[in-house]
């Protein structure tokens, strides 16, 4: 299949240690220059999808394709080289290092100095706070600013797909707004984004496509706007009514 998708996770089964499977035959496809958002209750396996895609958690079954090429057994470093950049949940800047060091660490697998300089200019334009605070300690920045440094770091290798795990976690509404604006800017600059977000409504408003996960499978997928407009989904997942959630919670399978 000559793929029109940048990243494809096909029939993935994955889990932690000897515990039960978290992902049970999940399929997600990310087209070029799009934002694909995974939503679903806690324990649905959203973060696990990203860990599988970045090579941190090898799947027990299924295939991972990047640009049609099978990369299922790649190590995290090989996934990075294949063009998958993972921005971890929570604050993952190196707090005791400067913004510049943080950003340059993103280019660690690159050797060409000219290329690195070019990427630095690119991310500085995309994220002005990176340029402004270049010599500051990353730990001295606000949560939203740190998130932008992480974004900049993830873009240093010119990734084909950025995997974003809960970028709005712990941010105030204003900073959350900025973060989602930056996600759109990343997409407009040509990078596809696979986004996991608790703030489902806000994420679906930003995304092009949405996938609703539950019990380790994709239940419904389609254009994000359609998912938002679906009244049944609104009740189940977007907080219009919370009582219905109970039946979907999976004991023992945490979101971490």
């Amino acid at each position: 299949m000559a793929s029109e998708h940048l990243l494809e996770l096909v029939d993935i089964e994955a889990g932690y240690g000897r515990a039960a499977l978290v992902l049970r035959g999940l399929t997600v496809r990310v087209p070029p220059a799009s934002v694909v958002c995974l939503v679903g209750p806690n324990g649905a396996g959203k973060s696990t999808v990203l860990k599988v895609a970045s090579g941190m958690l090898p799947p027990r079954a299924g295939r991972i394709l990047v640009g049609g090429e099978d990369v299922t057994r790649n190590s995290p470093q090989q996934m990075l080289r294949a063009g998958l950049s993972h921005v971890l949940q929570g604050h993952s800047v190196f707090k005791e290092m400067t913004v510049s060091e943080n950003v340059l660490l993103g280019a660690y697998s690159l050797r060409d100095k000219a290329e690195i300089a070019e990427r630095v200019d690119f991310v500085k334009t995309l994220f002005p706070v990176v340029a402004d605070r270049w010599t500051s300690l990353a730990g001295a920045l606000s949560g939203g600013q740190q998130k932008q440094v992480e974004f900049a770091r993830s873009l240093m290798i010119s990734p084909r797909v950025v995997l974003l795990d809960e970028p709005s976690m712990g941010l105030d509404p204003k900073a959350t707004g900025t973060v989602f604006e930056q996600v759109v800017r990343m997409r407009d600059a040509g990078t596809a984004v696979l986004l996991v977000e608790q703030n489902a409504r806000r994420a679906l408003e930003t995304a092009d496509l949405g996938c609703v996960l539950d019990l380790g499978r994709v239940h419904i997928s389609g254009p994000a706007a359609d998912l938002l407009a679906d009244p049944a989904l609104g009740e189940l997942y977007l907080g219009n009514r919370t009582a219905g959630r109970r039946q979907f919670s999976t004991p023992g399978a945490d979101n971490t």
């Binding site: 190196f94 060091e101 706070v129 402004d132 605070r133 270049w134 500051s136 300690l137």
Partner: protein, 371 residues
């Protein structure tokens, strides 16, 4: 974003960095002057020998800090490498009749080779487990060197011939070894400084902060840890070898002692493991304090109690060490430093607007100062 405030802040920043640079150069010159003039300032041969001991500790602590400072892996067992460096030097001289200085370097190389498998085995574990593994090696070596009397001299120790010959008097010997230790220390500091500024150093510091994250960014964490561990072992062995040549006698109970390794850690923590001169400063303070307590109270355990108290004080009040604490203190008195005071919401909004106008460059400068 050119604005009026940019015209003010940029020269201010330039001035700060020039002042800092001049201060750094001056500081280095003063330090070099002190080191060079110490032997002629020392009132007697005993003080001179204390200087050599302190210089030796500074070499060992700075060598330790290649692993401890860059990767955050706390090795309590670096006495293994200083002891092996000393014994390697002694055995090469006495058993193989090698030139003393060549023996010292050869012992360093041998210890570095020995550190490769040790590193491969021990660097797999982190935190407390790594500390335990590092201690285990020292205890094993102590037993081996005590029991293998026919080769190592056993508990009776081993005597080294004086490298400068018997006609060089003791004070003269102390002076030469003080300068030799200082030269070795200078090489170590230069290497540490070069790594600190390199791509390699950036990867190591990322390991120190979060090894998993560093790995996810493509830093070859295991290789890096191993390389810097071997470098550290090599320099520690050189330090041990040079000490052996100076002191002229080795006893396994002192060479392979947990205390020696603990001193390296204490000195580095005290001065600041993230600072180039941290271990040196720590060695001067701890080394002087130890000699003081030994001179005052004789061969009692008083100096150990004092060291324990010192370690507790450091951990409680200066977890980052003296140098970062001093830096923080200096910055507090700088005019640009931010101070906490109550402001009204209106003032805050006004400050925000002003900050946004300048594009954050002013804030950036404050952060620099705070470092």
């Amino acid at each position: 974003m050119p604005s009026d405030s940019d015209l003010v802040t940029v020269p201010a920043r330039a001035r700060t960095s020039t002042t800092t640079r001049v201060a750094k150069v001056l500081g280095l010159l003063v330090l070099a002057g002190l080191v060079i003039s110490f032997p002629s300032l020392a009132p007697d041969s005993f003080i001179l020998s204390v200087g050599v001991v302190i210089a030796s500790y500074a070499v060992l602590a700075t060598s330790w800090n290649f692993v401890g400072g860059f990767t955050g892996y706390i090795s309590l067992g670096h006495a293994a490498y200083s002891g092996l460096g000393g014994y390697g030097t002694a055995l090469l001289i006495t058993r193989a009749d090698v030139n003393p200085w060549l023996a010292m370097v050869a012992a360093g190389v041998l210890v570095a080779a020995f550190a490769v498998p040790v590193g491969i085995a021990s660097l797999r574990v982190r935190g407390a487990s790594f500390v335990i593994v590092s201690i285990a090696l020292v205890l094993i070596l102590l037993l081996v060197f005590q029991s293998w009397g026919s080769f190592t001299g056993g508990s009776n120790g081993i005597r080294l011939p004086r490298p400068f010959g018997d006609d060089v008097l003791r004070p003269e010997q102390h002076e030469r070894f003080f300068y030799l230790h200082a030269a070795l220390l200078a090489v170590l500091l230069l290497c540490w400084w070069a790594i600190d500024r390199s791509r390699f150093g950036m990867g190591l510091k990322a390991i120190r902060e979060d090894e998993d994250k560093a790995q996810s960014l493509g830093v070859p964490t295991f290789t890096y840890k191993l390389v810097v561990f071997v470098i550290s072992a090599f320099f520690t062995a050189l330090g041990g070898g040079m000490y052996a040549l100076w002191f002229g006698f080795l006893d396994p109970i002192f060479q392979f002692s947990i205390l020696v390794g603990s001193y390296m850690v204490l000195m580095s923590l005290l001065g600041g493991i993230r600072s180039l001169f941290g271990p040196l400063l720590g060695a001067v303070i701890v080394g002087y304090a130890m000699e003081f307590f030994k001179a005052q109270y004789g061969d009692t355990q008083a100096h150990l109690i004092a060291m324990g108290a010192l370690l507790a004080i450091v951990v409680l009040f200066m977890p980052d060490g003296i140098i970062p604490a001093l830096r923080g203190l200096v910055n507090r008195f700088r005019p640009q430093a931010a101070s906490i005071r109550e402001v009204s919401a209106a003032e805050l909004a006004e400050q925000r607007r002003a900050a946004e106008d300048t594009g954050g460059s002013e804030r950036g400068e404050k952060e620099e100062v705070r470092r």
